[in-house]
Structures are given as C-alpha cells and as structure tokens.
Symmetry: C2
C-alpha cells in the first residue's frame, strides 16, 4: 500500500538548486512514486496538497522549515528513501572546477580585486544583507533573488545611488554588460543598441529579436520588475538611462517595463526626452497616443521595440534641438495655452495630444471629466474651449458660420499676461462662413499687436481644414492667416504638437532643473572586461566562466546559521565597524 | 452717456441665422457700441453679462424668450436702434431664388418626390418632431440641430432602424453622400474610401486629408457625436458600417469617433472585423495595443487615419479568411486558453494582447487587479499563470531552470475538457535549463495524445526566446517542440495573436449570431443622385443647390406657434392618423 512519509528540518539552509536535485534524486529511487522537497510556505504547502503529498507534519511546517516528503509503494521504500537524504544532500555535483571557494564576498573581492559586479541569488530573506555587503565593497549588484520586501529594495537603491552603483533587482532575471550575460541571458551580438528593462524576459525577448534582426547591443541593464512602481520611483532605471545616455557606443536606447506606474513612466519619459539620441519605449499596457514624439519612438510590443531599435540604428534620424522655438520672444510668466475651437473633434484630439506635453488641460467638453472647466466663459491655466458645444449654440449660429463670439474670446485670452499660445481651428467648406479668414486674420493681427505693446509675444497658431476645391479658397485662407502673424498648418496634430513643444519648453524654463541626486554611475565600470563574484546559485558562476568572465563563487551560508535576530545584530556591528 | 436698452419678445421663432443678422445689423447702426440678440438661456445670459450687456430684464428672461439688447452712446441711439428691430427682422436676404417655399416636409416631398434626404437644423427643442415627420415620409434624416435630449435621439434611431433609414445626428455637422456635402462639408474628390464618423470635424479633417493625399471618398456618414455613447449604443454607426460593407465601390472603410464608450467601441470593432475589407479605426483617446489586427488598422490620430486609408486604397492587402484555423478539430465545449509562463514580461504582454480577443483573462500577476485568479494553483476560464512569480519560487528553482512544476500543470490543464489552447514560453540562453525542450516536448506530445484519446484537439503553442548563438541550440529546441505537435514561433506577439484568433473563432462558434435587428439601409438610396428637403438654416439649402443637388427649402415655423403642449397634442393626433 502506498505510504507517504515526511521529514521536517528546521534551521538548515540549502540553495534551491540543491533542493531540486534532492527532490529529483528521491523521486528516482526504487519504489518511490513521487517526492516533494520544499520550504514550508503556504503556497508550497498548497502545491503539495494539490499533488496529494500532504501529511499532518507538512501542514504544521513553518515557512523556514525544510519539508521533505515522499510517497513510496510501501512503507519500506518510503523509509529507505528518507534515510538517504543526508547522503544525497552532501553529494557534490560533478564537473566542478573552482578549487577553493571563499566564504564571504570580502574574501572573494580580495581574490578578484578587478571584480566590479556581485551576483546575488540567495534566498529572499537573506538577499538584502548580501547586497548591502556588496555595496559596502563598492560593487554593482545583480540581485536575482526574489521575495525581497520593497522597503529593502528602496533602501538598497538609495544607498547605491549615493555611491554611484547599480542595484539591478531584486527579482532581476537578466542583464548583459559589455557582451557578458548575467543570470538568464541570451548570447547576443555586440552592437549599437542599449536596453534598460524593468522586465526580465522583456530584456531577453528584445535583445534576442535584435540579434535575430542582425543587430546587437552595448549593454542590457535590468532593474527588477518593481523599479517603475510608485514606491521605487525608477531609481535604477534613471541611473541606467543616464549611463547609456553618456555612453558614446550606445546609439539607440530601448526602454521596456512591466506595467509601470503612470506617473513614474512619465518621469522616465521626461528624462528620456533629453537623451539626445533616439529612445524606443515599450511600457506594457501604457496607452499609446502617438508613435513618435521628437526623439521618443513608441512601440506596440516587444517585437516592435526590437524592430524599431534596429531600424533607428541602421538609419539614424537627425536629432532636432528644440525646434527653433525661440523662447526668448516670450515674457517671463507666459506659459499657458488657450484653444478656441469650432470643431468638437479637433478640440478632443487637441486635448488628447496636449496631455502628452502638459500635466493638465481644462476643457468645457473634457475627455477626462475631472478636467471640466469651472466656467466655460473663463479660461483657466491650459484650456480648450469648444465653442460649438450645445451651451453656446442655443439660438446662435455655429462658430463655423459666425466668428463673432470667437473673436471676442480671442481678445480676452490675448489680454491675459500668462497666455503664450492661442490656437484656432478654421474649418472651411460648404456650410461654413464664406470667408472666415477675412474676419479672423485682422483679429489675430490685433491680438498679437496688443500683446506686443504690453511687452509680450503671443503665438497664435491655426489649423485650416479644407481642400483646394472648397468654395473659400483654401490657400488664400492660409495666406491671410499667415500674413496676420499666425503659424498655420493643415494638420491638427502638427499644430497641437508644435504648441506642446512650446509649452513644455516654457515650463522647463520656469522650473529649476532638479537633479535626481546621487553620484553618476562610472561608465568605465561597464566598459572594462567583466569580472564578478557570485553568491547563491552556483550555475550562474559556471555560466560566467563559460563566457570567459573571471568569476569567484562564494561558498555562502546564512550568517548566524540563519537566525534572524543574530543576523541583525551582526549586521549592526559591521555598520558600526 | 452710454445707455443699455433691452427688448424681450416671447413666443416668437426665428432661426439662428436671422438672429445673427439682426445682431450685426443692430451693432452697425449709428451710435451703437454693442448689441446682443440671444435666446434667454442661462449660458447666453452669462455671455451677455461677460460683455457687460446685462440689464434686469435680461436677467429675468426665460430660455425661450428672444432677448434683444443694445448699448448706445446715448439714450436716443439705443431707442432708435430698438425701434428698427421689426424692419430688420422682415428684411429678406438678397440673392434668394426659390420662388415658392412650402410650409411642411410633406408638401416639399410632393414637390420633390425623388428626395431621399431631409436636413433638419431647426432649434433643438423642435428638432425631434421634425425628424420624426421625415422618417414617417420614408426619408433619411441629417439632423444638424443640437440641444436634442438623448432619449429623443434613441427613440428616433430605433424608429429609423426599423424602417431601414438613417438618422445622422443630432448634432451631426457633416455628411457626404455620393459626392454631395450636407451641412458642413469640404469638396472632396470621389474615390474608394468610405467614412463613418461620430465626429463632425473629424469627418471633415479626415476627408480633407484624404483629398490632400490625392485620393477620395464614396460616402462620409456622420452619426452625431453621441452615437458611440453607452446609451445610444452605436445604432447609426452600425447601420452605416453595414451599408459601406455592402457597397462594392467602398474598398476601405474609416471609422472615427469622439471618445467612445469602451464597451460600445468594442462592439463596433467586433462588427468591423467581419467587413471583409480593410477598416481603419481612429477612436479618440482609445488606448492602442496594436497597429494592425487582421483587417483592422488602428490610427494614432485623424491625419494618420487618412494616411493609412489612402495607403490601403492604393495597395490593397490580401484579406485572410480566418487564417485556416481548422476549428472542426476542436470538440464542442473546448474554448479556453491556459498560458503557463516562465517569463513574467511575456506573461504580461500575453495578457495585454489577449484582452483584444477575449473579454477577460485571469492571471496570478494580472495587469488589471480585478482579474486576479482566486487560486494560482487552479486555472479558471482563460488564465495566464506566471510560474516565475514569488509565490512559486520560495526554495524552488525558477521555472526556466526546472521544468517539473510546469509539466505537472501542463497535464492538469490538458485534462480539462474546456481547454482548447495551452501556451508555453521556452526561454533559453545562459542561466536557463541546458535543454528545456528535451523535457517539455515529450510532455507536450503526451498532453496532446491524452486529449486526443478523449476526443479533443489540444492546440499547444509556444514562443521560443533565444538566439542561434545560445548554448542550447535555438533551432534544435524549436524542432523538438514542433515534432511533438506544438505550434511554435520566436515572437511572443505572433503566438499570442494566433491564440487570440483561435479563441475568438471558438467563441463565435458557440454564440448564436445575434443580428442587430431592423431593416438594412437600402444601398441604392445612397447611390442615386442626391435630392433633399431642407428645414432650418436656409444656407444649407443654398449649399446643396450650389452643388447641383435638387433641393426644396421649407419655410418652417414651429407648430402651434411654438407652444409645446399644443405641439405634443398635434403630434399625437398625426400618429393616430
């Protein structure tokens, strides 16, 4: 009769590779049907229950108990299997070639002083301590371990930033530094593309596709999947973006992330806009509003990101230096946008696009109900008014037919010293006013003149919607508006994006540039041949050696035998030392 | 001293063009500084207050009072101006050439029996009644009027659908039928592109850009900006999409809308997928997850929609007929997807893409917290499990290194009779299992075989992430999996989209096809030369005549002198007749 037998061991530590080996060895013993070797967490116990390997002892096990359970054909086989556990645990994997293994990072660092990197893949509850030790020794950390609390992550990353070091992780699956893969990494050609990823398999998929498309990478810097969360605030991501921005070999940067905090994503993009090189962005589940915006290229997925990056590396675009915006024309304090629309759809599209450039656009017909103007008659900050909305058209002609209301409003907006840009849409065609520019152009000229007398520059911009066969003379309308001083284009998007660039530049001019603080990461540590110290999964050391990177594996055991209270005391003593 | 004088008239009706003319005429009289002629709504009164044209009489005016107010240099000028109001109101515009104007749509329809269209631009409170009259006479309605309650819109559109007629509007600015523009419309070349728009200036901007790019349109059907709201449910939009689908001259369809209800937008896309021709979609502020999905092409804006449509018209793509999905292989009841991932980012991307194809994807690490699996060990409906999540890796090797847990789960999923598709990711490279396919491929073959014995077809699909330089032999891994019966691709997106198409087709197979109901719109009414009846703004009739479309303008006055109670009685009497 099949029998399940259990053994619980407390206060012991083996890495997960060792546990996997033990489980497989047990399962292959004669008379054994199934075996489980787990740490006694709730989900692990559920898993055992799920495959009918549960006993009362298993149910009572605590999270840091080692649980060994076997199902034998009979009592005898089960007992025999359990009696072999010690023997199996001490059996050394063959093929091992590092003769002496130090017991601490400090000792390993003395053996390999050129090492700049420490890989950490010990169990989560010990990982932060090991990473802190690595930072103390001035090494970058590749932190593969998961189950590390977010508070520890923040603490480590703050420390690293002060020291100009990277903490890639926790739960960082992948990195590739100067052609050498850390953790899980594909063999990818060297090339002109640098990748920053809060996304382990994201980094692998993008770099593998880049290789498949014939190109290659400089560095692939993982940050751990939580780096773009609200709490962590992209600390490592921004360091990595900065170092790739400074790296002359990196011609194109790819940014990818698991679903990020929207606010943090925008912070990252703000920095990316200043990179001075093309940046491809693939933040999963972030809504796309455009495929390109200055040096930013937005991808629809991992494959698309790889394709875009390779295209940009092969055909480098000309980088524009703020589009000749001539900010000096504007007086201090001029910063707001006022859109006076006759077309509702054009007004909606303008809101949608401008939202990429400024934090908040008020409207009388807002996309986002939160941004409804308090009073449609009075603009506030950045405002877009659709004068064709129902509220304006009771017993009144539509503003495409009658310019009066809009002209009155134009003069009001022009008198506001905080207004920098006023946008109009001029929609011609059948049904519309027979010659709208004949009324709007003189008003535009007057508005600009009034502002000028008050020492300001008013940028009036206009989209003209129409065709060369329309009754009003399309080109003639455009000419009239241009001659009055307006900036005109037949594309709503082009006009709104021009406004967006102006507004962003004006806002940047007003805000003091806040530096992220900390010390920049030394680019030369990424450039020199990679040498590393490995703590945790021994296979990671083997992989580095297979890539010809000098590596020392540390024969690590939890300090104080894994006793957390003692560990804390030890760590505090070290800090004071 | 400047003096403001007011006159209030109750129970009178003039169209808004007349009111605008009166205001301009008054403002241009000698000694008059400013004039306002409005209906006494709250927003109109605010506007007058805003330009300092307010008096106690204005403040007391009711919404259907006509308010006439002038500011003269002195009392005398103000009084003189007001005394001219009647004379100015009765003055006829010159250049008018329709000799006899009927007083009802019915009379106009007798004069122009070939008319299929009625344009309605009377004040909002009368508009629904006029539109109903047009429907009773079997005419399509172009309903320019705004300020029409949404309940009236729904009622009109339901009636129209039963009759196989279109109600374009309310608040529909634009339509173009067979080359003739209704309302506001640009002169656009005839061509192969049909447009449906819940977006007045959207329709104008897209068609104008199409013309600028050298192409042209068949029909542009406006629906009113509320058509894709939750309440209206795209009634007109779906009729219009249907008629353009049936129109052999329309080779490419463009759909555009002001920000739609997400649910209604998905309904529309569901229908658009069956059009059998390319459909370009630009729904403002709808998040893009891809640029193309079968016959759907997603645009980032109005300009992009025009560009895409012209490209597609010039280079027609081959339309795929359900991708050889061979649905007959699957047993009845097979319909669910189970993704067993080792890569978190790949799992997130899969969720993000699948959300386009199925209503709900459960996950242990969901993008949308609402879709968190109740228990990560047990899949439900469509599920994506990231086996590399923290909950699975305490004291256990990552699933890229150890396939055991995943293989157990694969067999469980395969035994579920509702499962149709199981997806795996196989991520190779340094750090990963030295030969994952050697373990996964036999398991895949076994899972397929087990399902087969139970009379089912199990589609196992896999993305393999890696490069040809990886230690595991990239192509060898792919071959092993393919030989075991798996469908394999190196692109996560390609694999997930293949699953999505399968799942959608399986769901369609199970659901009875629900017809929207009503009578289809007769395509020939769009094809024959346009003839129309116009009620409201006379300039719309003039524009039709300028385009050589036979048009009768109705000299319309509100029934019962605008008395609403009497109007309602009259309408009920007509219904009964």
């Amino acid at each position: 009769m099949a029998t399940i037998k259990t053994e619980i061991r407390s206060g012991v530590y083996y890495d997960s590779a060792k546990l996997m080996q033990l489980q497989r060895s047990l399962a292959s013993l004669p008379g054994i049907q199934d075996a489980g070797v787990i740490m006694g967490t709730e989900s692990n116990k559920e898993l055992l229950a799920h495959i009918n390997l549960v006993t009362p002892e298993v149910e009572n096990a605590k999270p840091d108990d080692l649980v060994i359970v076997v199902r034998g054909e009979d009592e005898k086989s089960a007992s025999a299997a359990l009696s072999k556990v010690d023997e199996l645990l001490t059996a050394r994997k063959s093929g091992h070639d590092q003769e002496y293994q130090p017991h601490s990072i400090e000792a390993a660092a003395e053996m390999l002083p050129e090492s700049s990197w420490v890989l950490v893949s010990v169990a989560g509850r010990y990982a932060a301590g090991v990473a802190r030790e690595a930072l103390r020794l001035g090494k970058h950390v590749f932190l593969f371990s998961d189950n590390v609390p977010v508070e520890e992550e923040i603490n480590l990353k703050q420390k690293a930033r002060e020291l100009g070091l990277l903490v890639m992780g926790p739960d960082c699956g992948t990195a590739m530094i100067g052609g050498i893969g850390l953790g899980f990494a594909n063999k990818v050609r060297n090339g002109p593309i640098g990748v920053v990823a809060a996304a382990g398999t994201g980094l692998q998929q993008v770099t593998a596709r880049i290789h498949q498309l014939g190109s290659g990478i400089t560095h692939g810097i993982g940050t751990g999947g939580r780096d773009l969360s609200e709490k962590v605030g992209a600390m490592t991501f921004l360091q990595a973006l900065d170092v790739l921005t400074r790296d002359p070999d990196t011609k194109v940067i790819v940014l990818t992330s698991k679903p990020p905090s929207p606010r943090v994503a925008e912070e990252v993009l703000k920095t990316a806009r200043k990179a001075g090189k093309p940046v491809v962005v693939n933040f999963i589940a972030r809504a796309l509003t455009t495929l390109q915006e200055d040096n930013l290229y937005f991808a629809t997925g991992l494959d698309d990101a790889a394709r875009l990056a390779v295209d940009l590396a092969n055909n480098p675009p000309k980088m524009d230096d703020n589009q000749n915006l001539r900010l000096d024309r504007f007086a201090p304090g001029q910063k707001y946008f006022r859109g006076l629309f006759s077309g509702g759809t054009l007004a909606y599209e303008a809101q949608h696009i401008l939202a990429n450039y400024v934090p908040k656009v008020w409207a009388n017909a807002p996309i986002n109900k939160e941004y409804k103007m308090a009073n449609s008659m009075v603009s506030q900050e950045h405002s877009i008014v659709d004068l064709g909305e129902d509220e304006f058209t009771v017993g009144r002609l539509h503003p495409m037919m009658d310019n009066e209301l809009r002209i009155r409003r134009l003069f009001e907006e022009a008198a506001d010293p905080e207004v920098a840009v006023i946008m109009l849409d001029v929609v011609i065609g059948y049904g519309s006013h027979p010659n709208p520019a004949s009324e709007l152009a003189p008003a535009v000229a007057k508005a600009i003149e009034t502002a000028k007398k008050a020492g300001r520059h008013l940028e009036v911009i206009a989209v003209v919607t129409g065709t060369d066969e329309d009754p009003q003379d399309f080109n003639g309308q455009i000419e009239l508006l241009k001659n009055a001083g307006a900036w005109v284009d037949p594309s709503n998007e082009v006009v709104v994006r021009y406004a967006g660039r102006l507004l962003r530049a004006l806002a940047d001019r007003e805000s003091s540039t806040e530096e992220p603080g900390g010390k920049p990461v030394d680019l030369t540590t990424l450039k020199k041949p990679l040498a590393a110290i490995n703590v945790g999964l021994e296979s990671f050391a083997e992989n580095l050696i297979a890539q010809a990177a000098p590596t020392i594996h540390v024969d690590w055991k939890p300090p104080a035998g894994g006793n957390e209270r003692l560990m804390n005391i030890l760590e505090r003593m070290k800090k004071q030392a």
